[in-house]
Protein backbone atom coordinates (compact mmCIF):
# COMPACT_ATOMS: atom_id res chain seq x y z
CA UNK A 1 0.00 0.00 0.00
CA UNK A 2 2.68 2.41 1.09
CA UNK A 3 4.89 1.51 -1.81
CA UNK A 4 2.08 2.17 -4.26
CA UNK A 5 1.45 5.59 -2.79
CA UNK A 6 5.10 6.50 -3.04
CA UNK A 7 5.05 5.48 -6.66
CA UNK A 8 2.07 7.70 -7.25
CA UNK A 9 3.77 10.67 -5.70
CA UNK A 10 6.90 10.02 -7.70
CA UNK A 11 4.88 9.82 -10.86
CA UNK A 12 3.16 13.04 -9.95
CA UNK A 13 6.46 14.73 -9.21
CA UNK A 14 7.76 13.83 -12.64
CA UNK A 15 5.27 16.35 -13.98
CA UNK A 16 7.36 19.01 -12.26
CA UNK A 17 9.90 18.69 -15.06
CA UNK A 18 7.14 19.40 -17.53
CA UNK A 19 6.23 22.61 -15.76
CA UNK A 20 9.77 23.89 -15.50
CA UNK A 21 10.71 22.77 -19.01
CA UNK A 22 10.31 26.29 -20.51
CA UNK A 23 12.93 27.48 -18.07
CA UNK A 24 15.26 24.56 -18.79
CA UNK A 25 15.05 25.16 -22.53
CA UNK A 26 15.54 28.89 -22.10
CA UNK A 27 18.41 28.39 -19.72
CA UNK A 28 20.15 26.13 -22.17
CA UNK A 29 19.55 28.19 -25.32
CA UNK A 30 19.62 31.77 -24.10
CA UNK A 31 21.88 31.52 -21.11
CA UNK A 32 24.24 28.57 -20.97
CA UNK A 33 25.21 28.50 -24.65
CA UNK A 34 25.69 32.29 -24.78
CA UNK A 35 27.84 32.13 -21.65
CA UNK A 36 30.06 29.43 -23.12
CA UNK A 37 30.28 31.49 -26.30
CA UNK A 38 31.13 34.57 -24.27
CA UNK A 39 34.00 32.72 -22.60
CA UNK A 40 35.28 31.61 -26.00
CA UNK A 41 34.90 35.10 -27.46
CA UNK A 42 36.82 36.66 -24.63
CA UNK A 43 39.87 34.64 -25.66
CA UNK A 44 39.54 35.37 -29.34
CA UNK A 45 39.17 38.01 -31.96
CA UNK A 46 35.69 38.16 -33.38
CA UNK A 47 34.86 39.27 -36.90
CA UNK A 48 31.42 39.51 -38.39
CA UNK A 49 31.09 38.42 -42.00
CA UNK A 50 27.89 38.31 -44.09
CA UNK A 51 27.41 34.60 -43.53
CA UNK A 52 28.11 34.57 -39.83
CA UNK A 53 31.07 35.29 -37.67
CA UNK A 54 34.60 33.99 -37.36
CA UNK A 55 36.73 33.66 -34.28
CA UNK A 56 40.49 33.47 -34.10
CA UNK A 57 42.07 32.38 -30.89
CA UNK A 58 44.32 35.09 -29.46
CA UNK A 59 44.89 33.80 -25.95
CA UNK A 60 44.97 36.39 -23.23
CA UNK A 61 45.41 39.34 -25.61
CA UNK A 62 42.01 40.85 -24.88
CA UNK A 63 42.58 40.69 -21.15
CA UNK A 64 46.06 42.10 -21.51
CA UNK A 65 44.71 44.96 -23.55
CA UNK A 66 42.00 45.78 -21.01
CA UNK A 67 44.17 45.63 -17.94
CA UNK A 68 47.41 47.10 -19.18
CA UNK A 69 46.73 49.08 -22.36
CA UNK A 70 43.28 50.60 -21.99
CA UNK A 71 43.62 53.67 -19.75
CA UNK A 72 39.93 53.79 -18.81
CA UNK A 73 38.91 50.31 -17.76
CA UNK A 74 40.64 49.91 -14.42
CA UNK A 75 39.70 53.36 -13.05
CA UNK A 76 36.07 52.92 -14.12
CA UNK A 77 35.90 49.46 -12.60
CA UNK A 78 37.36 50.52 -9.26
CA UNK A 79 35.15 53.59 -9.27
CA UNK A 80 32.03 51.53 -9.85
CA UNK A 81 32.95 49.07 -7.15
CA UNK A 82 33.73 51.80 -4.63
CA UNK A 83 30.50 53.63 -5.40
CA UNK A 84 28.50 50.47 -4.91
CA UNK A 85 30.21 49.60 -1.66
CA UNK A 86 29.62 53.13 -0.35
CA UNK A 87 25.99 53.01 -1.44
CA UNK A 88 25.02 49.63 -0.01
CA UNK A 89 25.01 50.63 3.69
CA UNK A 90 23.36 53.96 2.89
CA UNK A 91 20.58 52.32 0.91
CA UNK A 92 20.09 49.52 3.45
CA UNK A 93 19.86 51.86 6.43
CA UNK A 94 17.71 54.37 4.63
CA UNK A 95 15.26 51.84 3.24
CA UNK A 96 15.01 50.01 6.56
CA UNK A 97 14.29 53.25 8.39
CA UNK A 98 11.67 54.28 5.84
CA UNK A 99 10.07 50.84 5.91
CA UNK A 100 9.76 50.98 9.70
CA UNK A 101 8.22 54.45 9.46
CA UNK A 102 5.86 53.42 6.67
CA UNK A 103 4.78 50.43 8.71
CA UNK A 104 3.34 52.72 11.40
CA UNK A 105 -0.19 54.01 11.18
CA UNK A 106 -0.67 57.62 10.15
CA UNK A 107 -2.81 59.70 7.86
CA UNK A 108 -1.74 59.61 4.22
CA UNK A 109 0.32 56.46 4.60
CA UNK A 110 -0.79 54.91 1.33
CA UNK A 111 0.04 58.12 -0.53
CA UNK A 112 3.55 58.20 0.92
CA UNK A 113 4.08 54.54 0.08
CA UNK A 114 3.00 55.28 -3.45
CA UNK A 115 5.46 58.16 -3.74
CA UNK A 116 8.35 56.05 -2.49
CA UNK A 117 7.56 53.49 -5.15
CA UNK A 118 7.51 56.11 -7.93
CA UNK A 119 11.24 55.90 -8.80
CA UNK A 120 10.65 52.41 -10.21
CA UNK A 121 8.29 53.93 -12.72
CA UNK A 122 10.31 57.06 -13.39
CA UNK A 123 13.77 55.58 -13.83
CA UNK A 124 13.54 54.41 -17.40
CA UNK A 125 16.73 53.66 -19.27
CA UNK A 126 16.09 56.38 -21.85
CA UNK A 127 15.14 58.95 -19.28
CA UNK A 128 18.28 58.31 -17.25
CA UNK A 129 20.40 58.55 -20.37
CA UNK A 130 18.78 61.81 -21.37
CA UNK A 131 19.11 63.27 -17.90
CA UNK A 132 22.80 62.46 -17.89
CA UNK A 133 23.27 64.25 -21.21
CA UNK A 134 21.12 67.21 -20.27
CA UNK A 135 23.11 69.81 -18.36
CA UNK A 136 20.00 71.69 -17.31
CA UNK A 137 18.50 68.60 -15.77
CA UNK A 138 21.64 67.74 -13.84
CA UNK A 139 21.67 71.22 -12.40
CA UNK A 140 18.11 70.70 -11.25
CA UNK A 141 18.91 67.46 -9.45
CA UNK A 142 21.87 69.08 -7.73
CA UNK A 143 19.63 71.92 -6.74
CA UNK A 144 17.12 69.52 -5.22
CA UNK A 145 19.66 67.99 -2.87
CA UNK A 146 20.97 71.39 -1.86
CA UNK A 147 17.47 72.67 -1.39
CA UNK A 148 17.17 70.14 1.42
CA UNK A 149 19.57 72.32 3.39
CA UNK A 150 22.73 70.92 1.91
CA UNK A 151 24.24 74.38 1.57
CA UNK A 152 23.66 75.34 5.19
CA UNK A 153 24.93 71.98 6.21
CA UNK A 154 28.09 72.43 4.19
CA UNK A 155 28.66 75.88 5.71
CA UNK A 156 28.15 74.43 9.15
CA UNK A 157 30.73 71.73 8.47
CA UNK A 158 33.20 74.26 7.14
CA UNK A 159 32.75 76.46 10.18
CA UNK A 160 33.33 73.50 12.45
CA UNK A 161 36.78 73.19 10.87
CA UNK A 162 36.43 69.49 10.32
CA UNK A 163 39.08 67.66 8.30
CA UNK A 164 38.71 68.27 4.57
CA UNK A 165 38.46 64.57 3.75
CA UNK A 166 35.50 64.16 6.06
CA UNK A 167 33.69 67.14 4.54
CA UNK A 168 34.33 65.78 1.06
CA UNK A 169 32.81 62.45 2.05
CA UNK A 170 29.75 64.12 3.54
CA UNK A 171 29.28 66.27 0.45
CA UNK A 172 29.61 63.21 -1.75
CA UNK A 173 26.96 61.43 0.29
CA UNK A 174 24.66 64.45 0.20
CA UNK A 175 25.06 64.63 -3.56
CA UNK A 176 24.11 60.99 -3.83
CA UNK A 177 20.95 61.33 -1.76
CA UNK A 178 18.66 61.39 -4.81
CA UNK A 179 20.36 58.24 -6.12
CA UNK A 180 20.04 56.52 -2.75
CA UNK A 181 16.34 57.35 -2.58
CA UNK A 182 15.84 56.12 -6.12
CA UNK A 183 17.60 52.83 -5.43
CA UNK A 184 15.60 52.30 -2.24
CA UNK A 185 12.18 51.85 -3.86
CA UNK A 186 12.19 48.07 -4.11
CA UNK A 187 14.23 47.45 -0.91
CA UNK A 188 11.61 49.46 1.02
CA UNK A 189 8.88 47.19 -0.32
CA UNK A 190 10.86 44.08 0.58
CA UNK A 191 11.49 45.36 4.11
CA UNK A 192 7.82 46.30 4.47
CA UNK A 193 6.81 42.80 3.48
CA UNK A 194 9.32 41.46 6.01
CA UNK A 195 8.02 43.70 8.78
CA UNK A 196 4.47 42.61 8.14
CA UNK A 197 5.37 38.95 8.28
CA UNK A 198 6.63 39.16 11.88
CA UNK A 199 4.10 37.17 13.93
CA UNK A 200 2.07 39.47 16.18
CA UNK A 201 1.93 37.01 19.09
CA UNK A 202 5.62 37.63 19.67
CA UNK A 203 4.91 41.31 20.22
CA UNK A 204 1.97 40.48 22.46
CA UNK A 205 4.06 38.16 24.59
CA UNK A 206 6.79 40.78 24.82
CA UNK A 207 4.28 43.45 25.83
CA UNK A 208 3.08 41.23 28.66
CA UNK A 209 6.66 40.96 29.83
CA UNK A 210 6.88 44.76 29.87
CA UNK A 211 9.26 45.42 27.02
CA UNK A 212 10.29 48.93 26.00
CA UNK A 213 9.98 50.18 22.44
CA UNK A 214 13.75 50.15 22.04
CA UNK A 215 14.11 46.53 23.14
CA UNK A 216 11.08 45.59 21.11
CA UNK A 217 12.78 46.84 17.98
CA UNK A 218 16.25 45.40 18.57
CA UNK A 219 15.21 42.09 20.09
CA UNK A 220 12.20 41.15 18.00
CA UNK A 221 11.75 43.23 14.87
CA UNK A 222 15.36 43.51 13.81
CA UNK A 223 16.38 39.83 14.13
CA UNK A 224 13.23 38.65 12.41
CA UNK A 225 13.66 41.03 9.52
CA UNK A 226 17.38 40.30 9.19
CA UNK A 227 16.94 37.74 6.36
CA UNK A 228 15.49 40.61 4.36
CA UNK A 229 18.71 42.54 4.87
CA UNK A 230 20.57 39.81 3.04
CA UNK A 231 17.97 39.67 0.27
CA UNK A 232 18.11 43.42 -0.09
CA UNK A 233 21.89 43.60 -0.08
CA UNK A 234 21.96 41.10 -2.95
CA UNK A 235 19.19 42.97 -4.75
CA UNK A 236 20.95 46.32 -4.38
CA UNK A 237 24.21 44.95 -5.74
CA UNK A 238 22.60 43.35 -8.75
CA UNK A 239 20.47 46.38 -9.40
CA UNK A 240 23.33 48.84 -9.21
CA UNK A 241 25.58 46.69 -11.37
CA UNK A 242 23.05 46.57 -14.18
CA UNK A 243 21.63 50.07 -13.94
CA UNK A 244 22.08 52.67 -16.64
CA UNK A 245 23.56 55.03 -14.10
CA UNK A 246 26.50 52.66 -13.96
CA UNK A 247 29.53 53.92 -15.86
CA UNK A 248 30.80 50.41 -16.43
CA UNK A 249 27.64 49.25 -18.19
CA UNK A 250 27.82 52.19 -20.57
CA UNK A 251 31.53 51.62 -21.12
CA UNK A 252 31.10 47.93 -21.98
CA UNK A 253 28.30 48.73 -24.42
CA UNK A 254 30.40 51.48 -26.02
CA UNK A 255 33.25 49.06 -26.50
CA UNK A 256 31.08 46.45 -28.10
CA UNK A 257 29.70 48.65 -30.83
CA UNK A 258 32.49 51.09 -31.46
CA UNK A 259 35.74 51.27 -29.50
CA UNK A 260 37.51 48.03 -28.84
CA UNK A 261 35.41 45.43 -30.57
CA UNK A 262 33.42 42.43 -29.47
CA UNK A 263 36.18 40.34 -27.99
CA UNK A 264 37.43 43.14 -25.78
CA UNK A 265 33.95 44.01 -24.65
CA UNK A 266 33.15 40.42 -23.71
CA UNK A 267 36.43 40.12 -21.84
CA UNK A 268 35.51 43.29 -19.95
CA UNK A 269 32.15 41.91 -18.95
CA UNK A 270 33.90 38.72 -17.78
CA UNK A 271 36.15 40.68 -15.44
CA UNK A 272 33.20 42.78 -14.38
CA UNK A 273 31.19 39.68 -13.56
CA UNK A 274 34.10 38.26 -11.58
CA UNK A 275 34.22 41.46 -9.54
CA UNK A 276 30.47 41.29 -8.87
CA UNK A 277 30.72 37.62 -7.93
CA UNK A 278 33.49 38.32 -5.43
CA UNK A 279 31.56 41.17 -3.81
CA UNK A 280 28.36 39.12 -3.70
CA UNK A 281 30.25 36.20 -2.21
CA UNK A 282 31.77 38.35 0.52
CA UNK A 283 28.44 39.98 1.37
CA UNK A 284 26.50 36.74 1.43
CA UNK A 285 29.24 35.13 3.50
CA UNK A 286 29.31 37.95 6.03
CA UNK A 287 25.56 38.33 6.36
CA UNK A 288 24.31 34.78 6.18
CA UNK A 289 26.06 33.80 9.42
CA UNK A 290 24.42 36.62 11.33
CA UNK A 291 20.96 36.23 9.90
CA UNK A 292 18.21 34.68 12.04
CA UNK A 293 15.75 32.30 10.44
CA UNK A 294 12.65 31.04 12.15
CA UNK A 295 10.59 28.38 10.54
Amino acid sequence: MKKFKLGLMEKRNLKGYLYISPFLIGFLCFFLIPIVQAVVFSFSELKIVPTGYTTTFVGLDNYHRILFVDPDFVPILTNTIINTIVDIPAILIFSFFIAVVLNQRFIGRSFVRMVFFMPVILSAGVVIKMEMNDIMNQAMVQEASFMMGGEYFLNLLLQLRLPAGFIQYIVAVVNRIPLVIEASAIPILIFLAGLQSVPTDLYEAADVEGITGWERFWMITFPLVSPMILVNAVYIIIDSFTSYRNEMVVFIADNAWSRGGYGVSVAMSMLYFLAIAVILGIIVGVFSKRVVYIK
Partner: protein, 323 residues
Protein backbone atom coordinates in the same frame (compact mmCIF):
# COMPACT_ATOMS: atom_id res chain seq x y z
CA UNK B 1 -1.04 55.22 57.46
CA UNK B 2 -0.14 58.71 56.49
CA UNK B 3 3.09 57.59 54.92
CA UNK B 4 1.33 55.00 52.84
CA UNK B 5 -1.14 57.64 51.65
CA UNK B 6 1.66 60.00 50.69
CA UNK B 7 3.44 57.24 48.81
CA UNK B 8 0.32 56.45 46.88
CA UNK B 9 -0.17 59.99 45.68
CA UNK B 10 3.43 60.32 44.64
CA UNK B 11 3.14 57.12 42.65
CA UNK B 12 0.00 58.40 41.04
CA UNK B 13 1.68 61.68 40.25
CA UNK B 14 4.67 59.89 38.72
CA UNK B 15 2.39 57.78 36.62
CA UNK B 16 0.54 60.84 35.41
CA UNK B 17 3.87 62.45 34.61
CA UNK B 18 5.05 59.46 32.68
CA UNK B 19 1.85 59.30 30.71
CA UNK B 20 2.10 62.96 29.79
CA UNK B 21 5.71 62.50 28.72
CA UNK B 22 4.74 59.50 26.66
CA UNK B 23 2.05 61.48 24.91
CA UNK B 24 4.41 64.36 24.30
CA UNK B 25 6.92 61.98 22.80
CA UNK B 26 4.30 60.55 20.50
CA UNK B 27 3.22 63.96 19.26
CA UNK B 28 6.84 64.99 18.81
CA UNK B 29 7.64 61.86 16.83
CA UNK B 30 4.65 62.23 14.56
CA UNK B 31 5.76 65.82 13.90
CA UNK B 32 9.30 64.71 13.06
CA UNK B 33 7.94 61.91 10.91
CA UNK B 34 5.72 64.28 8.97
CA UNK B 35 8.60 66.64 8.31
CA UNK B 36 10.95 63.87 7.16
CA UNK B 37 8.40 62.17 4.94
CA UNK B 38 7.19 65.43 3.42
CA UNK B 39 10.76 66.41 2.59
CA UNK B 40 11.60 63.06 1.05
CA UNK B 41 8.36 62.93 -0.93
CA UNK B 42 9.13 66.37 -2.26
CA UNK B 43 12.60 65.23 -3.29
CA UNK B 44 11.20 62.24 -5.15
CA UNK B 45 8.50 64.20 -6.88
CA UNK B 46 10.67 67.25 -7.58
CA UNK B 47 12.21 66.02 -10.88
CA UNK B 48 8.77 65.01 -12.12
CA UNK B 49 7.27 68.37 -11.18
CA UNK B 50 10.12 70.23 -12.85
CA UNK B 51 9.84 68.10 -15.96
CA UNK B 52 6.15 68.69 -16.20
CA UNK B 53 6.13 72.42 -15.52
CA UNK B 54 9.07 73.14 -17.78
CA UNK B 55 7.55 71.09 -20.57
CA UNK B 56 4.61 73.51 -20.76
CA UNK B 57 6.76 76.59 -20.32
CA UNK B 58 7.72 79.08 -22.97
CA UNK B 59 11.48 79.34 -23.30
CA UNK B 60 11.47 82.98 -22.16
CA UNK B 61 10.24 81.82 -18.77
CA UNK B 62 13.47 80.00 -18.13
CA UNK B 63 15.28 83.32 -17.85
CA UNK B 64 12.61 84.97 -15.80
CA UNK B 65 13.73 84.58 -12.20
CA UNK B 66 10.23 85.31 -10.94
CA UNK B 67 9.05 82.07 -12.54
CA UNK B 68 9.54 79.22 -10.11
CA UNK B 69 7.18 76.39 -10.98
CA UNK B 70 4.13 77.89 -12.60
CA UNK B 71 4.87 79.06 -16.15
CA UNK B 72 3.92 82.62 -17.07
CA UNK B 73 3.66 81.92 -20.77
CA UNK B 74 1.89 78.65 -21.18
CA UNK B 75 2.60 76.79 -24.41
CA UNK B 76 1.98 73.37 -25.88
CA UNK B 77 4.54 73.97 -28.62
CA UNK B 78 7.11 71.54 -27.15
CA UNK B 79 4.50 68.80 -26.92
CA UNK B 80 3.44 69.42 -30.49
CA UNK B 81 7.03 69.12 -31.75
CA UNK B 82 7.77 66.04 -29.65
CA UNK B 83 4.48 64.42 -30.61
CA UNK B 84 5.11 64.88 -34.32
CA UNK B 85 8.83 64.16 -34.28
CA UNK B 86 8.43 60.91 -32.39
CA UNK B 87 5.39 59.98 -34.46
CA UNK B 88 3.71 59.37 -31.14
CA UNK B 89 0.50 57.46 -32.00
CA UNK B 90 2.38 54.89 -34.08
CA UNK B 91 5.39 54.42 -31.81
CA UNK B 92 3.12 54.35 -28.78
CA UNK B 93 1.04 51.54 -30.23
CA UNK B 94 4.17 49.64 -31.29
CA UNK B 95 5.66 49.93 -27.83
CA UNK B 96 2.39 48.96 -26.21
CA UNK B 97 2.14 45.91 -28.46
CA UNK B 98 5.69 44.80 -27.72
CA UNK B 99 5.38 45.45 -24.00
CA UNK B 100 2.07 43.59 -23.74
CA UNK B 101 3.43 40.64 -25.73
CA UNK B 102 6.52 40.39 -23.57
CA UNK B 103 4.75 40.81 -20.26
CA UNK B 104 2.00 38.31 -21.06
CA UNK B 105 4.55 35.73 -22.22
CA UNK B 106 6.75 36.37 -19.22
CA UNK B 107 3.74 36.02 -16.95
CA UNK B 108 2.75 32.72 -18.57
CA UNK B 109 6.21 31.22 -18.51
CA UNK B 110 7.12 32.29 -15.01
CA UNK B 111 3.76 31.10 -13.66
CA UNK B 112 4.28 27.65 -15.17
CA UNK B 113 7.86 27.42 -13.98
CA UNK B 114 7.02 28.82 -10.57
CA UNK B 115 4.23 26.26 -10.22
CA UNK B 116 6.64 23.48 -11.07
CA UNK B 117 9.13 24.68 -8.47
CA UNK B 118 6.55 25.47 -5.84
CA UNK B 119 4.36 22.37 -5.95
CA UNK B 120 6.51 19.46 -7.11
CA UNK B 121 9.42 17.69 -5.53
CA UNK B 122 11.50 16.27 -8.30
CA UNK B 123 15.10 15.27 -8.34
CA UNK B 124 17.51 18.14 -8.93
CA UNK B 125 14.94 20.75 -8.00
CA UNK B 126 17.27 22.69 -5.74
CA UNK B 127 19.95 22.72 -8.39
CA UNK B 128 17.50 24.04 -10.99
CA UNK B 129 16.30 26.70 -8.61
CA UNK B 130 19.88 27.75 -8.00
CA UNK B 131 20.18 28.16 -11.77
CA UNK B 132 17.19 30.53 -11.67
CA UNK B 133 19.01 32.65 -9.13
CA UNK B 134 22.16 32.47 -11.25
CA UNK B 135 20.35 34.03 -14.20
CA UNK B 136 19.53 36.96 -11.93
CA UNK B 137 23.09 37.47 -10.78
CA UNK B 138 24.90 37.36 -14.11
CA UNK B 139 24.82 40.82 -15.70
CA UNK B 140 23.09 40.80 -19.09
CA UNK B 141 26.08 42.63 -20.59
CA UNK B 142 27.99 39.39 -20.40
CA UNK B 143 25.71 37.50 -22.75
CA UNK B 144 24.85 40.57 -24.79
CA UNK B 145 27.13 39.86 -27.74
CA UNK B 146 26.51 36.11 -27.99
CA UNK B 147 22.77 36.78 -27.86
CA UNK B 148 23.13 39.45 -30.51
CA UNK B 149 25.06 37.10 -32.79
CA UNK B 150 22.72 34.19 -32.17
CA UNK B 151 19.75 36.23 -33.20
CA UNK B 152 21.58 37.90 -36.07
CA UNK B 153 22.44 34.52 -37.55
CA UNK B 154 19.67 32.46 -36.01
CA UNK B 155 20.11 28.82 -36.97
CA UNK B 156 18.25 27.13 -34.12
CA UNK B 157 21.60 26.12 -32.70
CA UNK B 158 22.80 24.29 -35.77
CA UNK B 159 19.51 22.92 -37.04
CA UNK B 160 19.10 25.33 -39.94
CA UNK B 161 21.80 25.57 -42.57
CA UNK B 162 24.11 28.56 -42.90
CA UNK B 163 23.84 31.55 -42.90
CA UNK B 164 20.79 31.46 -40.66
CA UNK B 165 17.95 33.92 -40.34
CA UNK B 166 18.29 37.49 -39.18
CA UNK B 167 15.77 37.82 -36.37
CA UNK B 168 16.98 41.24 -35.26
CA UNK B 169 14.53 44.04 -35.79
CA UNK B 170 11.55 41.75 -35.29
CA UNK B 171 9.57 40.70 -32.24
CA UNK B 172 11.06 37.21 -32.34
CA UNK B 173 14.02 37.68 -29.99
CA UNK B 174 11.66 39.13 -27.40
CA UNK B 175 9.09 36.39 -27.90
CA UNK B 176 11.64 33.59 -27.72
CA UNK B 177 13.39 34.88 -24.62
CA UNK B 178 10.26 35.72 -22.68
CA UNK B 179 8.51 32.51 -23.68
CA UNK B 180 11.37 30.52 -22.20
CA UNK B 181 11.49 32.60 -19.04
CA UNK B 182 14.76 34.26 -19.99
CA UNK B 183 13.51 37.79 -20.52
CA UNK B 184 14.27 40.89 -18.53
CA UNK B 185 14.51 40.12 -14.78
CA UNK B 186 12.57 36.90 -15.41
CA UNK B 187 14.34 35.08 -12.60
CA UNK B 188 12.77 37.45 -10.10
CA UNK B 189 9.30 36.65 -11.42
CA UNK B 190 9.95 32.92 -11.14
CA UNK B 191 11.11 33.51 -7.58
CA UNK B 192 7.92 35.41 -6.70
CA UNK B 193 5.64 32.80 -8.28
CA UNK B 194 7.50 29.91 -6.66
CA UNK B 195 7.20 31.40 -3.22
CA UNK B 196 3.54 32.14 -3.77
CA UNK B 197 2.64 28.63 -4.92
CA UNK B 198 4.66 27.17 -2.08
CA UNK B 199 2.45 29.00 0.36
CA UNK B 200 -0.80 27.63 -1.04
CA UNK B 201 -2.46 24.93 1.10
CA UNK B 202 -1.86 21.32 0.08
CA UNK B 203 -5.46 20.40 0.90
CA UNK B 204 -6.72 22.36 -2.12
CA UNK B 205 -4.69 20.24 -4.47
CA UNK B 206 -5.50 16.98 -2.66
CA UNK B 207 -9.22 17.72 -2.82
CA UNK B 208 -8.96 18.33 -6.54
CA UNK B 209 -6.99 15.11 -6.99
CA UNK B 210 -9.60 13.06 -5.14
CA UNK B 211 -12.29 14.58 -7.32
CA UNK B 212 -10.33 13.26 -10.27
CA UNK B 213 -8.95 16.47 -11.70
CA UNK B 214 -5.85 16.11 -13.80
CA UNK B 215 -2.68 17.96 -12.92
CA UNK B 216 -3.25 20.63 -15.55
CA UNK B 217 -6.88 21.05 -14.60
CA UNK B 218 -5.84 21.56 -10.97
CA UNK B 219 -3.38 24.14 -12.14
CA UNK B 220 -5.80 26.07 -14.30
CA UNK B 221 -9.01 25.79 -12.29
CA UNK B 222 -7.84 25.63 -8.69
CA UNK B 223 -4.43 27.21 -8.41
CA UNK B 224 -4.53 30.01 -10.98
CA UNK B 225 -7.69 31.74 -9.67
CA UNK B 226 -6.15 31.73 -6.22
CA UNK B 227 -2.92 33.22 -7.47
CA UNK B 228 -4.42 36.50 -8.67
CA UNK B 229 -2.35 38.82 -6.45
CA UNK B 230 0.92 37.23 -7.55
CA UNK B 231 -0.16 37.24 -11.19
CA UNK B 232 -1.03 40.92 -10.98
CA UNK B 233 2.24 41.91 -9.41
CA UNK B 234 4.33 39.91 -11.89
CA UNK B 235 2.42 41.31 -14.82
CA UNK B 236 2.71 44.90 -13.63
CA UNK B 237 6.40 44.68 -12.88
CA UNK B 238 7.10 42.98 -16.15
CA UNK B 239 5.12 45.65 -17.98
CA UNK B 240 6.89 48.55 -16.27
CA UNK B 241 10.37 47.13 -16.73
CA UNK B 242 9.82 46.21 -20.34
CA UNK B 243 8.39 49.64 -21.10
CA UNK B 244 11.37 51.33 -19.49
CA UNK B 245 13.91 48.94 -20.93
CA UNK B 246 16.53 50.23 -23.27
CA UNK B 247 19.05 47.42 -23.08
CA UNK B 248 17.18 44.65 -24.88
CA UNK B 249 15.38 47.04 -27.18
CA UNK B 250 18.67 48.57 -28.26
CA UNK B 251 20.21 45.14 -28.62
CA UNK B 252 17.46 43.40 -30.57
CA UNK B 253 16.07 46.27 -32.61
CA UNK B 254 19.35 48.17 -33.09
CA UNK B 255 18.17 50.87 -35.49
CA UNK B 256 15.06 52.72 -36.46
CA UNK B 257 12.62 54.52 -34.27
CA UNK B 258 9.65 52.18 -34.39
CA UNK B 259 9.38 52.04 -30.61
CA UNK B 260 8.79 54.81 -28.17
CA UNK B 261 12.00 54.43 -26.18
CA UNK B 262 14.13 54.39 -29.33
CA UNK B 263 12.20 57.30 -30.80
CA UNK B 264 12.76 59.29 -27.64
CA UNK B 265 16.45 58.45 -27.69
CA UNK B 266 16.77 59.61 -31.29
CA UNK B 267 14.71 62.68 -30.53
CA UNK B 268 17.07 63.69 -27.73
CA UNK B 269 20.18 62.96 -29.78
CA UNK B 270 18.82 64.90 -32.73
CA UNK B 271 18.16 68.07 -30.80
CA UNK B 272 21.46 67.95 -28.99
CA UNK B 273 23.31 68.30 -32.30
CA UNK B 274 20.68 70.21 -34.28
CA UNK B 275 19.41 73.01 -32.15
CA UNK B 276 16.03 74.26 -33.30
CA UNK B 277 16.38 77.45 -35.29
CA UNK B 278 13.15 78.94 -34.09
CA UNK B 279 14.61 79.84 -30.75
CA UNK B 280 17.22 82.26 -29.47
CA UNK B 281 18.23 79.93 -26.68
CA UNK B 282 18.99 76.60 -28.33
CA UNK B 283 20.31 74.77 -25.25
CA UNK B 284 17.49 75.72 -23.02
CA UNK B 285 14.98 75.01 -25.71
CA UNK B 286 16.45 71.56 -26.21
CA UNK B 287 16.01 70.89 -22.52
CA UNK B 288 12.36 71.93 -22.69
CA UNK B 289 11.82 69.69 -25.70
CA UNK B 290 13.50 66.80 -23.90
CA UNK B 291 11.19 67.30 -20.96
CA UNK B 292 8.13 67.23 -23.17
CA UNK B 293 9.42 64.04 -24.82
CA UNK B 294 10.08 62.40 -21.48
CA UNK B 295 6.63 63.34 -20.22
CA UNK B 296 5.08 61.77 -23.30
CA UNK B 297 7.15 58.66 -22.72
CA UNK B 298 6.29 58.35 -19.03
CA UNK B 299 2.63 59.36 -19.29
CA UNK B 300 1.26 55.86 -20.03
CA UNK B 301 3.13 54.37 -17.10
CA UNK B 302 2.09 57.16 -14.76
CA UNK B 303 -1.55 56.66 -15.71
CA UNK B 304 -1.25 52.90 -15.28
CA UNK B 305 0.41 53.42 -11.93
CA UNK B 306 -2.26 55.80 -10.67
CA UNK B 307 -4.99 53.33 -11.62
CA UNK B 308 -3.25 50.21 -10.30
CA UNK B 309 -1.40 51.91 -7.45
CA UNK B 310 -2.85 49.68 -4.78
CA UNK B 311 -1.85 46.52 -6.64
CA UNK B 312 1.72 47.71 -7.06
CA UNK B 313 2.39 48.60 -3.48
CA UNK B 314 -0.04 46.76 -1.25
CA UNK B 315 -0.09 43.33 -2.79
CA UNK B 316 3.63 42.70 -2.58
CA UNK B 317 3.30 41.65 1.03
CA UNK B 318 0.73 39.01 0.13
CA UNK B 319 2.63 37.58 -2.80
CA UNK B 320 5.25 35.86 -0.74
CA UNK B 321 8.22 37.92 -1.76
CA UNK B 322 9.24 36.99 1.74
CA UNK B 323 10.11 33.31 1.66
Amino acid sequence: MAVAYKYKTRQARNLKHAKRLHKLGKVGWSFVRTVILAGLCFMILYPLIVKFTSSIMHVDDMFDSSVRFLPKNFTMEQYRIAWEWMNYPRTFLNSLGLTLTVSILQLASSTLVGYGFGRYNFRGKNLCFALVLLTLVVPPEMIMIPLFLNFRFFNLFGLIKEPGINLLGSYWPFILTSMTAMGLKNGLFIYIMTNFFKGMPDSLEEAAMIDGASSFRTFFQIMLPGAKPALTIVFLFSFVWQWNDLFYTNLFIRTGDGFLSLALQNFANYFVSNSPVSSNYPWQYTSLLNNAGMMLFMAPLLILFLIMQRHFVESIERTGLVG
